[in-house]
C-alpha cells in the first residue's frame, strides 16, 4: 500500500500525483464517470479512498458525478471529481450550482482535443476559457494549471485549499501529456504543505445564516446534520439561503460571488517569472506548453537574445495587475498555447499598447516543440 503518511520519492504519472495530492489535502469523497485521459485518477481513488475511511462512487454520468460531489461536500467532506472535455461540458450546469450555492469542491479536467469527442487520447489546452465561462450566469472562477507531475500534486492540494477557503468550486486544468507523463515526485510529509479547512460557524444555530455576508465575503459553512438546518438552492437567494426576487438582495448575492474572489485575488495568484529583468521578448505559457517555452528561452539566451518567460500557475483569476507591471518594458509577447488562441485575449487586454502580441499555437493533438517556439522568437525579435 502506498500512502501519504510515508514520505516517499516515487516515479509517478500526473494523474497519480493528483490522487496523492487529493489524499494529502484530506479529500474523502470522489464521484466520477470513466473518461479518457483522466481514468487513472478515478482508479487510484477507488483503490485508496476506502482505506482512508472515504468513499468512491462511480456515477451513471458526469452530471450525476458532480451532483454527488456537491451533495457530499454539504455533509462536511472534502470532495472532488475528475474528467476530460466532454465530461467537463456535461458538468457545467452543476458546477454553476456549486458557484451559486457556494459549495467547495475540486474538478480536475485532464484536457484532450475538442470540440465534441475530439481527440480522446491526444493533448490540448482548449478548455482554458471554459474553465472561466463554462456555465451560464455571472460568477468568478478559480482555476490552476500545473506544468509538471510534482505540480499536479501541489496544485491539487492548493485547489482544495482554495475551494475550502473561498467556498467555491476550483478547477485544475491538466492535460493528456502531464496526466500520463511520469516524473519523480517526493511526497511531502503531513504538515509540510498547508492544508486548509472550510470556515465553520461558531454561533448558535438560531443566529446562523448559511450565506452571511462577512468581512471576507465568505460565509461559515455548517455541515448537514450538525443542527443548523439551512436551505440550499440554485435559485438566487438571500443571506439565509431562501429564494429572493428583491433587486437589492440579488445584486448583493452576485457581488458576493464576485468580490469574495476579486478582492482577495492576491491570495490566489501564483505566477512564475524567469529572466524577465532584461527581457525584450516575453514568452507567456502555462501548463504543458510552458515546458517547451522554457527550453526555447534557453536556446534564445544562448544566442544572446533577451528572452524571458512568464508562466501563470493560477490562470483564473487572471493576474492582471502583476502582468501590467511585468510587461511594462517588454516589446513582444509570444503567447504559447495548445489551442487556436484563448489566453492571448487576456494578454491583449492587459499588455501595454507599445507591446506587440504574437501567438504561437498548436492544435493538432501534438505538444508544441521548443524549436517551433525558438524559430518564432527569431522571426519576431
Amino acid at each position: 500500500m502506498t500512502g501519504m503518511a510515508t514520505s516517499t520519492r516515487k516515479l509517478m504519472q500526473g494523474n497519480e500525483a493528483c490522487v496523492q495530492g487529493a489524499l494529502y489535502a484530506g479529500c474523502r469523497f470522489f464521484g466520477g464517470y470513466p473518461i479518457t485521459p483522466s481514468t487513472e485518477i478515478a482508479e487510484g481513488l477507488a483503490r485508496q479512498l476506502p482505506r482512508y475511511g472515504g468513499h468512491f462512487i462511480q456515477m451513471e454520468d458526469e452530471i450525476a458525478s458532480i451532483a454527488a460531489v456537491i451533495g457530499a461536500s454539504l455533509t462536511g467532506v472534502k470532495a472532488m471529481t475528475a474528467t476530460s472535455g466532454p465530461g467537463f461540458s456535461l458538468m457545467q450546469e452543476n458546477i454553476g450550482y456549486a458557484y451559486m450555492a457556494e459549495v467547495p469542491c475540486v474538478i480536475i479536467n485532464v484536457q484532450r482535443g475538442g470540440p465534441s469527442t475530439g481527440l480522446p487520447t491526444k493533448v490540448a489546452q482548449a478548455d482554458t476559457m471554459q474553465a472561466r465561462y463554462g456555465t451560464h450566469g455571472d460568477y468568478y472562477a478559480i482555476a490552476v494549471a500545473p506544468a509538471s507531475v510534482r505540480e499536479c500534486f501541489e496544485q491539487t492540494v492548493k485547489a482544495f485549499n482554495y475551494a475550502e477557503r473561498f467556498r467555491t468550486p476550483v478547477i485544475v486544468l491538466t492535460d493528456e501529456v502531464i496526466g500520463h507523463m511520469r516524473e519523480m515526485v517526493t511526497i511531502p510529509e503531513p504538515g509540510e504543505l498547508e492544508v486548509i479547512a472550510r470556515p465553520k460557524p461558531d454561533m448558535p444555530p438560531e443566529w446562523y445564516q448559511h450565506f452571511e455576508i462577512t468581512p471576507t465575503l465568505v460565509s461559515p459553512m455548517a455541515a448537514m446534520g450538525e443542527g443548523y438546518r439551512y436551505h440550499t438552492t440554485g435559485l438566487t437567494h438571500d443571506q439565509a439561503g431562501f429564494p429572493t426576487a428583491v433587486p437589492e438582495e440579488i445584486r448583493q448575492k452576485l457581488d458576493k460571488l464576485k468580490y469574495k474572489i476579486v478582492r482577495f485575488a492576491d491570495e490566489l495568484i501564483q505566477l512564475d517569472a524567469e529572466m524577465m529583468d532584461d527581457a525584450g521578448i516575453c514568452l507567456f505559457a502555462y501548463g504543458i506548453s510552458a515546458r517547451a517555452a522554457r527550453q526555447a528561452m534557453y536556446m534564445a539566451r544562448e544566442k544572446r537574445i533577451r528572452v524571458g518567460m512568464i508562466r501563470p500557475i493560477t490562470i483564473w483569476p487572471f493576474p492582471d495587475e502583476k502582468l501590467r507591471e511585468m510587461l511594462e518594458h517588454v516589446r513582444r509577447v509570444v503567447v504559447v498555447e495548445l489551442n487556436q488562441g484563448q489566453l492571448i485575449h487576456e494578454i491583449e487586454r492587459v499588455a501595454p499598447r507599445t507591446c506587440k502580441i504574437i501567438n504561437q499555437t498548436r492544435y493538432d493533438g501534438e505538444i508544441i516543440n521548443p524549436v517551433e517556439i525558438y524559430k518564432r522568437i527569431l522571426e519576431v525579435k
Partner: protein
C-alpha cells in the same frame, strides 16, 4: 380544548412558518397534502429534524422542501437523486428523502432514477405524479396518458406513459408503493414504510394538477379530480381476486413490492471496516 395530538399540530411544528409562507402552489394543489404526509411520517418514525435531509430537483413538487424545517437541498432539474446519493454515501447517519415529480424524476432525471434504484441506496423517494409539467405551464410529461391534452400536446399526446412503480421494481428498488392525495392516511403509512426500509424506497403519489391537466382535459377542479382518484384507486391487496374487467381504468395502490436486498452504503461500509481492521491488526 387541548389538541396537542391533532395531526395538523404535528405538521405545523415542522414548518418554516415565518419565513416562507404563503407557498407557491395553486389553491387545491395536492402537493401540500403530500407535504403534510411526509412530515407526519417523519414524526411517526421518530427522526430528529437535524438528521432528516429533503432533497429535490426543479418543478412544483420540488418546491416542497423549502417550507420544511429540516436540512433542505433544492438542486438542479432532474438531479435530486444524484445529489442525494452523495449526501447519503458521505454521511450515512442522515435520513435522506428525495421529493420529485413526474417530469423531474422520470424525464430529465430518468437516468438517475434507474441507477439509484439499481444501487438500492437507502433513500426514500416520494414521486408526486400529476401527469404534467405544472410550473412551466402544462406541457406533457412521461406519465401523461396517451391521448391526453397538454400545452405541448394540443392534438393529444402520442406517447405512451411510464409506470414509475414498474420501472422502480425492474430497476432494483427494494420498496415500491403507490398512494394518492385523496387517500391521505394510507399515504402516511406508505411513506412510513419507505422510511423504515433499509434500501431504495419509491412512493409514487398520484396528485392533481387541476390548473393545467384538469383544465386541458376537462376533468374539472381539484375536488372533481380527487373524486376521480377515489374512483380509480384500487388497493393492490384486493386486486388479485378480481376479474380483469373490474381492473379496467383502475390503478393499484398500497405496497406493491417489498423485498430485502443488500443496501449500497452498508456494503461500502463493510469494505471500509475491513481496511480499518486490517490496519489495527
Amino acid at each position: 380544548m387541548p389538541s396537542t395530538n391533532q395531526p395538523s399540530d404535528v405538521t405545523h411544528q415542522y414548518l418554516r412558518v415565518k419565513k416562507k409562507f404563503p407557498n407557491v402552489w395553486c389553491a387545491g394543489c395536492g402537493i401540500g397534502v403530500v407535504m403534510g404526509s411526509i412530515i407526519r411520517a417523519v414524526d411517526a418514525v421518530g427522526y430528529s429534524r437535524d438528521e432528516v435531509v429533503l432533497v429535490s430537483g426543479i418543478g412544483c413538487s420540488s418546491r416542497l422542501p423549502v417550507y420544511c424545517d429540516f436540512n433542505t437541498l433544492h438542486t438542479t432539474h432532474g438531479r435530486a437523486l444524484a445529489f442525494a446519493t452523495g449526501v447519503k454515501l458521505a454521511k450515512q447517519s442522515l435520513k435522506v428523502m428525495v421529493i420529485t415529480g413526474d417530469g423531474d424524476g422520470l424525464a430529465i432525471g430518468g437516468n438517475h432514477f434507474i441507477h439509484a434504484c439499481r444501487r438500492n441506496i437507502d433513500i426514500t423517494t416520494v414521486l408526486i405524479n400529476n401527469q404534467i409539467y405544472g410550473m412551466t405551464g402544462g406541457q406533457f410529461s412521461p406519465t401523461t396518458p396517451r391521448g391526453a391534452y397538454a400545452s405541448t400536446a394540443p392534438y393529444g399526446n402520442d406517447e405512451k406513459a411510464f409506470d414509475p412503480t414498474a420501472l422502480a421494481k425492474a430497476a432494483g428498488a427494494s420498496y415500491v408503493a403507490r398512494g394518492t392525495v385523496y387517500h391521505v392516511q394510507q399515504m402516511d403509512k406508505l411513506i412510513i414504510g419507505g422510511l423504515r426500509k433499509k434500501g431504495f424506497a419509491l412512493i409514487e403519489v398520484i396528485s392533481n394538477c387541476h390548473t393545467y391537466y384538469g383544465r386541458l382535459n376537462k376533468e374539472g377542479d381539484a375536488v372533481a379530480m380527487l373524486e376521480v382518484m377515489k374512483k380509480r384507486a384500487l388497493p393492490a391487496k384486493a386486486a388479485g381476486s378480481l376479474p380483469p374487467e373490474k381492473l379496467k381504468d383502475k390503478f393499484l395502490t398500497g405496497v406493491l413490492w417489498d423485498v430485502e436486498m443488500p443496501e449500497y452504503c452498508e456494503e461500502y461500509q463493510k469494505l471500509i471496516d475491513g481496511f480499518k481492521k486490517e490496519k489495527e491488526e
